[in-house]
Amino acid sequence: MAISKGKELRPGLWETVNERYPGSMITKTDFVPLVKLSKPLGEARLAFISTAGIQPKGTLPFDTVHPVGDYTFRRVPSDSKPAELEIHQLKYPTFGANRDLNVIFPIERLQELTNERVIGSLTKNFYSFIGYNMDPERLERTLAEDIADAVEAENADLALLAPA
């Protein structure tokens, strides 16, 4: 079922969140214009971007303790196996992901969909960061811009964004 924009799934939720975390919810009244894919999905290159705090083992862990958040991202090679990756994020339940990473970072499913030619190809890297960031301006100015540049440099035709 599709719901038109501007309608909240749970009316009043944002007010409740703002009461608890004053100033944390930003109301967006403008939307990025809908752009149609320039080629069939089966020929397109897909980038995956996630706030799940996934990173290759051995890379500097995301800063999960900082009171204002971590504004860095990690490149996750799209041909990685789940065993080569780890989660550094405290703010969402990871009991499912600890058993099967694909519930939050479906890297194996995306690899399979590519092998099945549903998706043309994957960018060399996927991108991950942590969603606990209290400075939306910095988030937009640095993290979002940097990831957008990196995705563009990998010649992605589309990006799938998933929160955690």
Binding site: S24, V65, V68, L90, M134, R138
Partner: protein, 96 residues
């Protein structure tokens, strides 16, 4: 809470707003739980000291003398999570 909200609170000297933020951060949006988490961290920090074991005071004093305040503050947050994690009862254990 937004960063602007916190900066305003510092400017206005509104410590209630600031401690509320810290509790919400440690308590995953629940102030009461956050306050308990802070207490737990202190209890866990107290426990290993009761037998008065030898500790690396040189390291501590050198760190306090040489590191900048922001790094020490960051370390303080790390220590909170470290000690709460040791308590065996941690709200950030992945089950939320």
């Amino acid at each position: 809470m937004s960063l602007a909200y916190l900066k305003d609170a510092i400017k206005e000297g509104d410590s209630e707003k600031l401690i509320r933020y810290v509790r919400l951060h440690f308590g995953d949006g629940n102030e009461e739980r956050g306050a308990k988490e802070i207490n737990k961290a202190w209890i866990e920090a107290l426990k290993p000291m009761l037998e008065i074991p030898a500790t690396d005071r040189e390291f501590i004093l050198q760190t306090l003398a040489e590191k900048d305040t922001a790094t020490l503050a960051h370390l303080f947050f790390h220590l909170h999570f470290y000690f709460v994690g040791r308590s065996g009862e941690w709200i950030h254990d992945g089950n939320l």
